[in-house]
Every structure is written in structure tokens, then in C-alpha cells.
Symmetry: C2
Subunit: 327 residues, 2 copies
């Protein structure tokens, strides 16, 4: 890459900074946290062939790279403030970079989050974003707050669609073109539940975003919530199979396939959270206030393990392994 191509990158990624005391381009970005707020920080790295296919539209890749990071802020109930972007590129292609930047900037603008720093280098395609948000001290949603008896909730209605799209690309499932485009959107254009996360502060007892698959991420909540109690054993849960929200496309699959995609699909970026039953109306109000569908899909229990039950309460499944980027 030439210096001219560095300028190209600067051209696409240098934007006026409004909230940071100092724009992009010094050794560090400077942020002025609001007094009384804690800073929430998360970092995610996206690698070609693992987190996206090489043919992904760069605008969608830009969106997704930021979306998965904003999703972590959402899971903490934090308000997004800023992000840094480091990326390695095999070559600098102006059209491709412009589209990548457009996807990033569009989502950034939607959430009023600004790019405050970065790094660019030559190398195998890799995007690493670190996001910063703020949350009133002591009010962050954690994974460790679930208690036996709490309801288990999930946002959205496309659980499993991202994994379904991946399986179509892998050739293990076939879908009509329209249906594929729909689930592909779930895979490439996840919607970070930022407003819902903030609306759930003081309502949800625990929260996590579903990146590894519902069961895998539920496992994190059960382990950490169990460890936070004096007993120290993991908690358990019952999941109501019929309450798991699914798209019309996913609903066309055979039942066993549906359940597998719903429970261990991964890459969903929905919020999985718990709340005491007495706060069920407050959860629904948070959903309405943030224009986000919420579904009550289960119950936290003292008995370890996860039991998936049908409408009659019969156990119909035991957990699968979670989605693993290293497979």
C-alpha cells in the first residue's frame, strides 16, 4: 500500500468529532466521562472466514463490525459514546473502503457514537473495534444477577436465522432465494438492542447478548449467577420451546432443526435477560418503549442444567454444544 492509499483511508474514516475533546489523529483520543458514570468497554475482533464470508458486501461488514460491539454495550445497559477501529487489509480498494466506512458511519450515526481513534495496517483482513459507553455507577446489567424464580426473556424474533443463513452458505440447508436473503440479513445486519438494554436498567436482574448461541450464553448467566450466590453451584433453567421467537423462514424447517438453530445458532445479537416475575409488566414496557419485541422464554431454577419443555411441560430436549468460532 502506498502513502496515497493511507490518505484514502484517512479520507473515509476521518470525520468531525463532536463529543470527544480531541478528534482522531493525535497519539490518543481524549474522552471526558460524565461525572458519576462508569465507563463500559468492550472489544470484538472480526476475521474473514470466521465471522464473515469473503463475499460479504463491505457496507454490511462495516455495519456488523460495529453492531456486535454495540450489542455488548446494550447487554450492559450502557449508552454508547465512542469507538476505536483497528483494521488489517490485504489491499486498499477505494470503493470497498468507502462502502465499509458507509456501513460503519450509518450505524454510528444512528446511535450517536463517534469514531475517536484507530490504526490501519496491511495484513489478512481483520477488523477490531473497541466501544465505549457509559452507565450510571452501579446500574450496569451484569451476567451474574439472575435468581431462581426469575423469568427468562429474549429480544427480537429472528433467533437462529443467522445460523440458518450460514448453513445455506455451507450447503447443508437449501432455501428459496427470498427466504435466503431474509435470513442473510439477520446474519449480516444484526440490530444491536441498545435502546432496550438501557430501558432494562433497574428491571432486568441479569443480561447477556446472544453471540455464541442461546444455550451457550444462557450457560454464562447460569454459571456466573450461581457463582455470585453463597451456594456457588451453577443455576439451571427451563426453556419453553414454543415461546422461542422465530422467523417465518425458520418456522418452515422441521421441528428438530428449528430447535437446534434457535438454541445454539449463534451470531444472533439479541438480548437474553432475566427479571423477577413481578417485573414482567416493566419488561414489556421496556420493550414497547424501545420498539423491540420481547418474549418470555423460560424460568431460572435452582436445579442445575437446562430443560427444554413443550407446552405440556414435557422435557423434549437437552442442550447442544454452543456455536464455536474455532470449529
Amino acid at each position: 500500500m502506498s502513502l496515497g492509499e493511507f490518505d484514502l483511508i484517512q479520507h473515509f474514516f476521518t470525520r468531525p468529532v463532536r463529543r470527544s475533546p480531541l478528534g482522531v489523529g493525535d497519539d490518543c483520543a481524549l474522552l471526558a466521562p460524565t461525572p458519576g458514570m462508569q465507563l463500559a468497554v468492550s472489544t470484538d475482533m472480526l476475521v474473514e472466514g470466521r465471522h464473515f464470508v469473503s463475499t460479504v458486501a463491505p457496507r454490511r461488514l462495516g455495519h456488523k463490525a460495529l453492531a456486535v460491539n454495540l450489542s455488548d454495550l446494550a447487554a450492559c445497559g450502557a449508552r454508547p459514546l465512542a469507538y476505536t477501529l483497528a483494521f488489517a487489509l490485504p489491499r486498499a480498494d477505494a470503493a470497498w473502503l468507502g462502502e465499509l466506512a458507509a456501513g460503519l458511519h450509518a450505524l454510528a450515526d444512528e446511535h450517536a457514537v463517534e469514531l475517536v481513534g484507530g490504526d490501519t495496517t496491511a495484513g489478512p483482513l481483520n477488523l477490531c473495534i473497541t466501544v465505549f459507553g457509559e452507565v450510571p455507577a452501579g446500574q450496569a446489567l451484569l451476567r451474574s444477577g439472575a435468581a431462581p424464580g426469575d423469568d427468562l426473556w429474549v429480544s427480537g424474533r429472528t433467533l437462529g436465522d443467522a445460523r440458518l443463513a450460514l448453513e445455506v452458505l455451507r450447503g447443508t440447508v437449501q432455501l428459496p432465494g427470498d427466504a435466503f436473503e431474509q435470513v442473510r440479513r439477520a446474519m449480516e445486519q444484526p440490530v444491536p438492542r441498545v435502546a432496550l438494554g438501557q430501558a432494562l436498567r433497574g428491571v432486568a436482574s441479569a443480561a447477556i447478548d446472544v453471540s455464541d448461541g442461546l444455550l451457550g450464553d444462557l450457560g454464562h448467566v447460569l454459571r456466573r449467577s450461581g457463582a455470585a450466590r453463597s451456594a456457588a453451584a451453577p443455576l439451571g433453567a427451563t426453556l419453553f420451546a414454543d415461546n422461542l421467537p422465530r422467523s417465518a423462514v425458520l418456522a418452515t424447517l422441521p421441528g428438530g432443526h428449528q430447535l437446534e438453530f434457535l438454541l445454539s445458532g449463534g451470531d444472533d445479537y439479541e438480548l437474553l435477560f432475566t427479571a423477577p416475575p413481578a417485573l414482567a409488566d416493566a419488561v414489556r414496557a421496556a420493550g414497547i418503549a424501545s420498539a423491540t419485541e420481547v418474549s418470555r422464554i423460560g424460568r431460572i431454577e435452582l436445579e442445575p442444567g437446562v430443560r427444554v419443555v413443550d407446552v405440556d411441560g414435557q422435557v423434549i430436549a437437552t442442550p447442544w454444544a454452543s456455536f464455536d468460532h474455532f470449529r
Copy 2:
């Protein structure tokens, strides 16, 4: 990579967190900034074959990945607080990971900076670190504060050694084994000038860390300092060739080679900074207080361009291109 290998990574990189309200392992890390302080943030990505050779000792790689990020905090005069680490690995090798972690942790402990979050994935070797530090509001050292008449200073005495080591590895220069080990240390074990950076608050008018080569980074200071003035034209500088600090190994090279390595070597991670001549003693005091050598190597001028002069004031060189990771 198997889940067992994920556990291995957790094993090496999960440490007790002292200052952050929440340890590693939730969706976000939480930081509680000190009231009245601004948060300084920087991110750097290291790619195999660009920033380190594949044969580098993993302990040194861990050191370097964090050192280059701490160097950015140093250049802002910020006190390091915390960092996140995202990395892609082709495979999980316990011995290698243990050494990488040891290198990171040793430098982190030295600067009381703690690992608060991260991400791990399979992929071509890539390390992306984001560091957080804090600096009293309005006191950060910026690139834009240099004024005509200011002295130009640089820290340390191994300018050019990292590049010299690279050239030995490339086979363009030959050195005896002992001499190579010495310059290789400069390349693989840079010392972030964290204490000096903080000591220079209120003394230096501008600062940057030398990563792209002295001339290239001086160019950033000249451009940004010029742009910050009403004139908006870049400033210029005269460099005193004989004052440029160099190692005994570098001093064995022919004069022209020495100057090229000193001026455009890159990967030095020394602080290049400016200060009014009236504060020269304060600069020297900051160097002593931080046990860091400082050398007065030039002068900022209104006339654009960089003039390298000998002891008699004769111009002996014009700038070369800066070190460019995309070559």
C-alpha cells in the same frame, strides 16, 4: 481450536482485577474514571510479518504489543489504567500462549495497568490492544502545540536500532552476533516512556511517540502545530545531526547509513517533543525524575521543511520517506 483450548486462553489471561469495578468476563468491562480526569484511549494492531517476525519469542511479542500502546499514552502524558486485548491465533499452543501472557503481564505489572477485557478467535496471527489512561483535563500533551523557537527533544539513545535489526533480518546489513542481539532488543523490547510523558505535562509544548521514524513523526507535529496556528501552513525544523542519540552499535555504521536509520528508522517508541528554550532545565529535570535520557536535537522554525545540519550549521541532508508498514 477446541473448547479446552479456549479454557487455556482463559487460564493465561484471566487475572484478578484490582481497580476496575468488574473483572474480565462480562459483556463489558466497567471503569470508574477519576473525577476531573480525561480518559486517553489508543489502539494498535500488530500483524505477523509487518510488526514482528514469525520467529519472535512470544514473551517479547507480548511485551511489544502492550509497549507500543503504552507509548501512545506516554506521548499524551497520560497515566496508564487498563487495556483490552483482542487476538486472532492460527492455533492454541499452551507454551506459546503462556509466554505471550508472561510478556504482557510483566509489562502490565510494571505500569500498574490491568487487562479488563478481550476477545479471542481463530485466524492469521493478529494482536489488537486498546489502552486507557487518564490525564488531568486540559493537560494532555498534543501534537499540535509546537511553536517556532521551541527546542526539539527526543528520549533514549537507541534511535534507529530497531530498523537496524530489521535490516539485519532482511540481510541488507550484517552485524556481529552480540551487536545484533543488542539492536534486536530495541526492536522487540521497546521501553514505553510512560514516566517521562507524565513528567513532561506542563513542560512540553507538543509530543508524539516515534513509531514511523523520527522524520515522519516530526512531520505530524509540524503539520498539526502549523494547522493550529492562524497561518495554517506547516511549521519547519532544523535538526542537529550530531546531537541525535545513537547506540554504540549504530555508531559503527557509515555516517550516511547512521543518519538514515536515525531519521527514518521507525519502531523506536521514543518520545519526540518540543519545549520553549526557557524550559530546557525543566525538560532535563523531567528526564532525571523519570530516569530517562533526553537529548536536545533541533529547533522548531516558521520556515517549512526539515533541514539536517552538521556542527557547523551546514545543511547535510534533506528528509527521506518515513517508515511505512505498507511497503
